[in-house]
Every structure is written in structure tokens, then in C-alpha cells.
């Protein structure tokens, strides 16, 4: 396997694999079609601790190392990318707290999540996608509180979270440098969950608008200092990108596995299509690209673990893995032919799931801007 893990790390990945195959796989198609939120499946994942892999042990989390965590997200994604994304997004909300939070804030956040709850990272707005600096949500200081007003969209876990990490402007005149990050508990007054997105893929994850109307939070919920928000957001996304890459790799790997299985069984012209070089070369290219994508993910994680700069490599991993997932899913549909086009077979879903990995967590165009930026500085 592409992740070089020791026996103990492997035993965790194997455990998750068994869980996904027996408990989640039989239900995926049904939830993909209806779009209903698979709460029971997520509850089972919570029981196993799959929602707090990255929360440090001292705060009650798994404290799993990043490489094993990536292998786990990939393993989950082989069964369903949406399910893996829903759980990974909790860690996305966690990251600003780990990056800039005090011990009390880490405890506050962990105490909500660890017993079994979702968290959501709230940056994107209708007018602030790639242009994250155009965030219009405001946070106004009032005594020892802040009052938050604004609307976020395309928020993963928006409708199911018990805690949000919200990026709001504390000083419009400073643009990017006026953004600030806050922990906002769902229990605060004034939070409404808006429209749920009817998505093309990753339908086992929940994506909604979240609206904040005069939401009061204690000033102690501010992460870092006023004006640190943009830096925290960018560091968070850098740190999260390899894991998103791992999920995309999982989608691609599933596409390969389905294609291999089908090619061996499908007989045309008197033999299995796996015996034709056209199919063999296609499968080989799919495998080469997927393994290469996996290794860009592994490399980015190794840089993180070695405490070296990793922003460029994280962007490469996310960008390449997302592009590979789409291409390999398309190839899988082609190999399955007419059956690949049918919803009765699992590969068309893989393309619908793969596409988002070129869009969220920083579009692949933004990733290219980052990579070019490193080259041209």
C-alpha cells in the first residue's frame, strides 16, 4: 500500500476498513439517491472515534498521527467520499482552534466534539469564494462580547453542527487583515441554518447556508487576536489540503477496483476484456496516476510531520489528487461502458463525487495560483 505504516497503525486502518464495508457500504446507494442525511451511520462512526482522530489525546481525542489519519480518510472514501468528507470537515473546523487557540479554547471545542458531534468551518459566503478576503460577515465588539452578523454558504456540516468556527470582519477598512476567527457554539441565539444544497455528489455529507443574526459570543471565543483570521484560515486550508487529497485518492482507488473487477468478468470477442491491451493500458494509467497522487499526499504529510514548509506541496497534493480523481472516474465509466453510465452500477457516482475535489477547499485554479506563486517569488 502507498502509506508505509507500522503494524499498529495498520491495525487502525484495517479496523476502519472492516467497519466501512460492513456498516456503511450496504447503505450508500440509498442515501446517495435520496440525499437524506445518514445520521445513524455517522453515530456509529462517532462510537468508533472517527470524528476526533486529530483531536489530541489530552483533550479526549484519538491523537492519531497525520499519516495514519490520511490512510483512514482514504479508506473511508473508497466506500463513500461524502461520508469521509463529513468526518474530515470536523477536523477542518478543529484546525483553526489547534493553530491559534488557547488550551481553554481547545478544551471548549473538544468537549463539544468528542462525545459525538459535528463541527463546521465557516468561511465561504455568496460574495467570498476564492476571494476569501471579501468576507462581509461582521463581528462587532460590545463590552466583553462580540456580535456576529452575516451569512455563510456551502458550509459542510452546516446543518448538523454543534459548533462553528466563523471568520468575520472586525475591521472592514483593513480588508484581509481585518478578518478574525471565532468559536461559535450552535446553542447561541440568532443562528439559523438556511438552504441545504442539493449536490451533484458527496451526497452523504450535509452542506448548507448558515445565517448569524446578532449572535452574541464571549470575547474569550476569539481565536488568536483581531486581524489574525485570514492567516489562520490560510494555514488551516494548507493543513487540510493533504487530507482532502487523500479522500480524492480514495475515490480514484475505488474507481480502479471496480474497473479491475468488471474487466475480469466482462466477456467480449470470446475473452475477458482484461485480456485486451487497450483495457490493460487504461487500467495501468489509472493506477499510475492514482499512486502518484497518493504519494503527493504522503509527501505533503511528511513535510508537515518534519515541521518543514508545506504550503506548496499541500497545494500540489490537493490539486493533483482532485484532477486525478475526476479523470480516473471518467475512465472507470468508460471501461464499464453502458453499465458505467447506469445508476445501478457504482462508478457514475464516483464521477459525481470526484468533481467537488476540483472545487472546494480552494479551487484547483487557486491551487495553481499558490504553486505558481512559489515558483515566481
Amino acid at each position: 500500500m502507498g502509506y508505509i505504516l507500522n503494524e499498529e497503525q495498520n491495525s487502525l486502518v484495517e479496523m476502519v476498513k472492516e467497519f466501512m464495508i460492513h456498516e456503511v457500504k450496504p447503505h450508500v446507494a440509498k442515501f446517495d439517491i435520496t440525499g437524506e442525511f445518514p445520521r445513524d451511520l455517522y453515530e456509529k462512526a462517532f462510537e468508533m472515534g472517527l470524528h476526533c482522530l486529530e483531536i489530541p489525546e489530552e483533550f479526549g481525542g484519538g491523537g492519531v498521527d497525520y499519516l495514519t489519519a490520511a490512510a483512514i480518510y482514504e479508506e473511508m472514501a473508497k466506500i463513500d467520499a461524502g461520508f469521509s468528507t463529513g468526518l474530515c470537515a470536523i477536523s477542518l473546523a478543529l484546525k483553526p482552534v489547534l493553530i491559534a487557540g488557547t488550551a481553554q479554547q481547545k478544551k471548549l471545542f473538544s468537549d463539544i466534539i468528542v462525545p459525538g458531534a459535528f463541527g463546521a468551518f465557516c468561511l465561504t459566503e455568496p460574495n467570498a469564494g476564492s476571494d476569501a478576503g471579501s468576507v462581509r460577515t461582521t463581528a462587532v465588539r460590545d463590552g466583553d462580547e462580540y456580535i456576529i452578523n452575516g451569512g455563510k454558504c456551502f458550509i459542510t456540516n452546516g446543518g448538523v453542527s454543534d459548533v462553528y468556527v466563523v471568520f468575520a470582519s472586525t475591521d472592514k477598512s483593513k480588508g484581509l487583515k481585518g478578518l478574525t476567527a471565532f468559536i461559535v457554539e450552535r446553542s447561541r441565539n440568532g443562528i439559523t441554518v438556511g438552504k441545504e444544497e442539493n449536490k451533484m455528489g458527496i451526497r452523504l455529507s450535509n452542506t448548507t447556508e448558515v445565517v448569524f443574526e446578532d449572535v452574541r459570543i464571549p470575547a474569550t471565543n476569539l481565536l488568536g487576536k483581531e486581524g489574525d483570521g485570514f492567516k489562520i484560515a490560510m494555514k488551516t486550508l494548507d493543513l487540510s489540503r493533504p487530507f482532502i487529497g487523500a479522500i480524492a485518492v480514495g475515490v480514484a482507488q475505488r474507481a480502479i477496483d471496480e474497473s479491475v473487477k468488471y474487466s475480469k468478468q466482462r466477456i467480449q470477442f470470446g475473452k475477458s476484456i482484461a485480456e485486451f491491451q487497450a483495457i490493460q493500458f487504461k487500467l495501468a494509467d489509472m493506477d499510475i496516476e492514482t499512486e502518484a497522487a497518493r504519494q503527493t499526499v504522503v509527501h505533503a504529510i511528511q513535510l508537515i510531520l518534519a515541521k518543514k514548509p508545506y504550503s506548496r506541496e499541500a497545494a500540489i497534493a490537493k490539486c493533483f489528487a482532485g484532477d486525478v480523481a475526476v479523470k480516473v472516474a471518467l475512465d472507470a465509466i468508460q471501461i464499464l461502458g453502458g453499465y458505467g453510465y447506469s445508476r445501478d452500477y457504482p462508478v457514475e457516482k464516483l464521477l459525481r463525487d470526484a468533481k467537488i475535489f476540483q472545487i472546494f477547499e480552494g479551487t484547483n485554479q487557486i491551487q495553481r495560483v499558490i504553486v505558481a506563486g512559489h515558483l515566481l517569488k
Binding site: E8, S11, L12, M15, E18, F19, E47, M48, G49, L50, L53, G62, G63, V64
Partner: protein, 265 residues
Amino acid sequence: MNILVCVKQVPDTTEIKIDPITNTLIRAGVPSILNPFDAYALELAIRIKETNGGSVTVLTMGPDQAKSALKECLSAGADKAILVSDRAFGGSDTLATSYILSTTIKAIENKTERFDLILCGKQAIDGDTGQVGPEIAEHLGYAQVTYAADITVDGENLRVKRENEDHYEIIETQIPAVITVIKTAYELRYATIKSKMAANKVQIPTMTSIDLVIDLERTGLKGSPTKVKKTFIPQLKKSGIKIKEETVRESVLKLISLLSDATLI
């Protein structure tokens, strides 16, 4: 309730392939698993502990590699694990194995306290003899109930739902007892990330013949009155009844009468 579950690490016999030339099992490369019936026994033990308090210890006789099966048991919820292993024990048949396990149980009880309940899976999927559990009961002089589908505890009494071919019995017995467990309605629970990581860190103690009061003549090949001489696949004979009466209707009526005689319908 102080519970002991005897477990065995076995090759995954669903993955076993037969060498087409020698007609024997190819053991190489076959993954090792916790014997499925032992997993059911462990789940029952953990449930009894959750309802009645106490602790669950798992014991296995095997090579060092068997520790991974013990770790799986720990991660699912067993409190303690012990491996008993010695070169002298290699090649033991069921009688020698049950003797070794019984002396180990007595040695453990000498240091800690008596086990109230000893559970075993009904049979190991490699040997399929189903003998070791009942033999342990005999060595220890305990009551035994086999083929248990469920167990309830009432003070010192155990009520065991015992499976027969076409009915269940409820058998009452008192602790201490040995009970062998079939495939129950309770699958072994999943481990969690935390329990697996904790189990991975545990140093599992190994007991050897030095730690036991044991007659080595009764262990290993020396102590095994039964020996496996040969393992082979029998020739497949065609079986089944052909029903072909004068008319389709008559054939159907004949089939119905055969099925009803066999109490299948």
C-alpha cells in the same frame, strides 16, 4: 462475575486453498483471525460484565503470533489477556491442549481469584472437534453446558439457552461452570480508535511450562493420543433425488410430499 474466555487464533478457513496436486491445505499466506465462535463467546462475556460487573480475561495457547488475536480481544473490551506458550506444547491434540489450558487456569487462579465462568467458542474452525471446552470442564471438575445461544446471570445461578437441532432448552447451573458458545445474535462489537491504540500498547504476559504445575509427558505430541495422519478433500459424489413423474403436476405433488416428510414445509 470473574469471567475467562479461552480463545484460539486460527487460519481464516474461508480463505484456505487446497493444493491441487497433493490435495492438502496451503497454509502459507492465509490470514490469521480470532476464531469466530470465540468472538461470540467474548461478546457474551463482555455483556455479562456490563450487566453484572466483574472482569473479562482472555487466554490462548499458541505461538507468540497469537498475541495479535489477544490484542483484538482487548480492543473489543476484554480487561486482561494471557498467552500460554512453550515449545513443549507444540503438536498438542485436544486432550493435551485442554490439559495445558486447565493447568494454566489453575495457576492463574492461584495468583488472583477463581474464575466464576469459563467461556469457550463451541469449536475452532480449523480443527472443528468441539472437544477442548468440554474437556476443560472435566479437567477442572466443573459443570458444563454446551451450544449456548445466550446466558443470563442470577446471583450464583446461570441460565443458559442451549440450542438443539430443532428446539432450545433452558438449562440452569451454578458457578463455577464452563459454557461453550455458538453463533449468537450478538456480533462482537467493534473496537474504537482509542481502544485499539490502547490494546496495541499492552504488554501481554506469556506463561510457560515453568509457571505451571504440569506434567510435560501429557503435553505436545507425547501427550496426544490422537494424531492427524492425513488431510484430504473427499471425492465429490453426486447427491440429490431426481423427480420425473408422468406429468408435471404429479412431479410437483411428489416434491411436496417429500418436502413435507422432511418437515421442510
